[in-house]
Amino acid sequence: MLRYVRTRLLAALPVLLGVSILVFSMLHLLPGDPAQIILGEAVTSAQDLARLRRELGFDAPLHVQYARFLGRALSGDLGRSLQSRRLVLDEILAQLPSTVQLTLAGLALAVVVGVVLGVAAATHRGSWADTLCMALALGGVSMPAFWLGLMLIFFFALQLGWLPATGQGGLARLVLPALTLGYGAAGVIARLVRSSMLEVLRIEYVTTARSKGLAERRVVYRHALRNALIPVITIVGLQFGALLGGTVVIETVFARQGIGRLLVGAILYKDFPLVQGIVLFTASAYVLVNLLVDLGYALTDPRIRYD
């Protein structure tokens, strides 16, 4: 098991290296000069521009710039943001708790709602309950988060006045963003749970369990669900990445702190060090989560072993 983890972590290194090269070249290929943005977009004297580019190290050839960046990054120094002039790592760490909180809350909501809807639909196949659950799931898959967020603000913050529309801190401020974020993933999970569950319910051991006289509830939740969840775990891992990306829109609509918003601002500013730092950080998180998902299989299914 430990060896497996070690191998996987080593295999992650080329992935992260690839990501960093990709981001680095994309940033430098896009039009727009960060030095010019810092000096203001108005035309600056060529001397000023050259001086600032030199001070920022943008006058060196690309591969030299990349080598410098990589060297610093390996020693844990992601540099300073060009705009705020704060340390990139500080910027990321300040925004991280909010994004993690939102992503986990959204994911928890997605799993609970998704599994409940999926199981209900599968066990009542063809009934009105099935139709209703799948209609709800379809809504989650097809509604844009941006629109859903504004609608939730309109009803719960403006019309009913139950919840605040924006900001950080406390459960009350987390409910609407988490709902907006989690609903889409809940739809995906519900549809998957339903089909996976239907498949499992047809397998012989379920029939055996039933013939032994076990209560239907026990059959469904103890025996069938556990097996039906394996593909679900995969999709949860993938959804985690999607949710991490999806937070940008939610963070903007609900004016929450977060990595996503930080990244969009950094891209628009051509704040190279900040963009590189955030992407590298997010990619690492993604790789790590997928490793955890793979390890999670072993927990749900004793037949899977990593030796």
Partner: protein, 548 residues
């Protein structure tokens, strides 16, 4: 002056929202015509009360609060309460009033300004304010190590400052600087605490220390910035309505990028003041007694379209005149902007110093006359309703951005009626600006926030071809007028010279002015006395109070 004003117009693009791409337009605002718009007071003036807080919904977040470093308007909106300036510009008449400087004298050659400073002023860290502090602040901007963009531009041809005595400082320039007071009245040239700068170094912009009516308290990135009342404040400028400490206990700037959300927070009182109200919501807010609109009128270049006088077919005066006279700005304002703006008539908004009223009668809307001009220039009716000359169709390239799509579409439709084919190129901002600066277009829209009429030099001085001289005009007489105006400290003389430049631009049909920029903000009814400054873009909160 150049980058400065231009950059202020560009809003801080840290959001996905449509307004992030407003470009040169609605970004900032100024309020000279405050009388007509600002703070519509309901019947019965309120007595100011102490206490309470202003929760100010900002669309974007400052990058940092070091005036020497940040170029953004949004930073100014926060910094202006933390730092004081040497002088203040009175929005009522555009004159300069005392601030940290009690009085000042401009040398007749315009090469130096001598300021007599107030006594008894203290920075928030307790250190005294004096002439050395002024010299320190300006020297720091001029120091290449600071990498100042915008403040350095406002400081202009700075040569240095002399501490004459504890309360007297002389600021010297390499060439005459007629616009210096304009710069000195902006928080970008606000006076910083030398002790705090030395202590905090690079992090000064995160924990700013000045002499202003509010003291910086905390900044939670992407969430809020809190300022608290400075209890020792006894040096308010006479442009304000009262003396002594501010009325508000604190000001909390909440960063809410999405327009619809920001408006929702005003309605459910999470905020009690917001900036950048979308045009389509203005009528509803105006009709609702729970709110009041605060509107700043922005001086500088109105939103309009430059015509490239060096590229076919707009190199012909008749074609340019036909465009100016064939387009209806009233229709554009009504269709695209819900009638929210007043039409503009020249390259300066009517509230800008040196505005020349004569431009209003030049190029009146007249489609028949526009057709006649085109006929006279040899552009005859051709295939598909597009005019032709020597076998070539009358085609115009219009460089703009996605944000101005509505404007471009209406212009396209209106010019089509006259037989001109407009080909829009909607580009991302950096590319758009570069393309227009290179002159690779016939039409390109722009707007520019500036309280100094010297801004005209950007568009019409031949030295700026390749930069913002988008009409690519090269006229020795105009260059000379602009140079003389920039160096003259005689206000009347400057007005006359800039007035002539405005007439020239309109006679040559180099710019189609559309509307004068406004800064739309909204307050809850219990918030009183928020006043836009002379640039309309920045809001004075020192006199502000909250009832209930």
């Amino acid at each position: 002056m150049d980058k400065a004003d231009r950059v202020r117009a560009e809003e801080h693009p840290d959001t996905l929202s449509r307004r992030a791409f407003v470009g040169t337009a609605l970004g900032t605002g100024a309020a000279v015509a405050a009388g007509a718009f600002a703070s519509r007071r309901r019947a019965g003036a309120q007595q100011p009360v102490r206490g309470g807080e202003l929760r100010f919904g900002l669309r974007t977040e400052p990058d940092n609060l070091d005036p020497a470093v940040t170029p953004w308007a949004v930073s100014h909106r926060v910094m202006m309460h933390v730092y004081d300036t040497l002088v203040w510009q009175d929005p009522a008449d555009n004159t300069f009033k005392p601030g940290l400087a009690e009085s000042w004298q401009v040398a007749p050659d315009g090469l130096s300004y001598t300021f007599k400073l107030r006594r008894g002023v203290k920075f928030h860290d307790g250190t005294p304010f004096n002439a050395a502090g002024v010299k320190f602040s300006f020297d720091r901007i001029a120091d290449p190590e600071t990498k100042s963009g915008f403040a350095a531009a406002l400081l202009g041809p700075y040569a240095g400052a002399d501490v004459v005595d504890e309360q007297t400082v002389r600021v010297r320039f390499k060439v005459a600087s007629a616009g210096f007071l304009d710069g000195a009245s902006q928080a970008f040239l606000g006076i910083v605490s030398p002790a705090a700068v030395k202590q905090q170094g690079k992090d000064f912009g995160l924990k700013p220390v000045g002499t202003g009516p509010f003291v910086f308290k905390e900044w939670v990135r992407q969430d809020h910035i809190t300022l608290e009342r400075n209890p020792d404040y006894q040096w308010a400028s006479p442009v304000f309505k009262h003396q002594g400490p501010a009325y508000l206990d604190r000001v909390v700037f909440k960063i809410i990028p999405e327009d619809a959300t920001r408006l929702a927070t005003l309605e459910n009182a999470e905020t009690n003041f917001i900036e950048m109200v979308p045009e389509q919501d203005l009528a509803r807010l105006r009709a609702d007694t729970r709110f009041r609109l605060v509107v700043g009128s922005i001086p500088g270049l109105p939103i309009g379209v430059f015509l490239n006088a060096q590229k076919e077919p707009t190199d012909s005066l008749e074609v340019r005149q036909a465009i100016l006279q064939g387009l209806s700005r009233a229709d554009i304002i009504k269709t695209v902007y819900f009638g929210a703006y007043q039409p503009a008539h020249g390259p300066l908004s009517s509230n800008t110093l040196a505005y020349n009223k004569k431009v209003e009668s030049l190029n009146p809307f007249d489609r028949a006359r526009a057709r006649e001009l085109l006929e006279r220039a040899g552009w005859k009716a051709g295939a598909g309703g597009i005019r032709q000359k020597d076998g070539k169709p009358l085609k115009l390239e219009f460089v703009s951005s996605e944000f101005f799509k509505g404007l471009v579409t209406v212009v396209q439709a209106q010019l089509r009626e006259l037989g001109m084919q407009v080909e829009p190129k909607l580009l991302a901002n950096p590319t758009r600006l570069a393309t227009a600066s290179k002159g690779e277009m016939n039409l390109a829209n722009l707007g520019w926030v500036a309280s100094n009429p010297a801004v005209l030099g950007h568009f019409f001085h031949s030295k700026n071809i390749g930069a913002y001289n988008w009409p690519r005009v090269k006229d020795a007489r105009v260059d000379e007028m602009l140079d003389r105006a920039e160096a003259s400290v005689d206000v009347e003389r400057r007005k006359q010279l800039y007035g002539e430049v405005q007439e020239f631009a309109m006679q040559q049909a180099l710019f189609f002015p559309i509307y004068e920029q406004l800064n739309f903000c909204a307050a809850r009814a219990e918030v009183h006395d928020i006043r836009p400054d002379a640039r309309g873009s920045y809001l004075w909160l020192y006199d502000t109070f909250v009832t209930k």
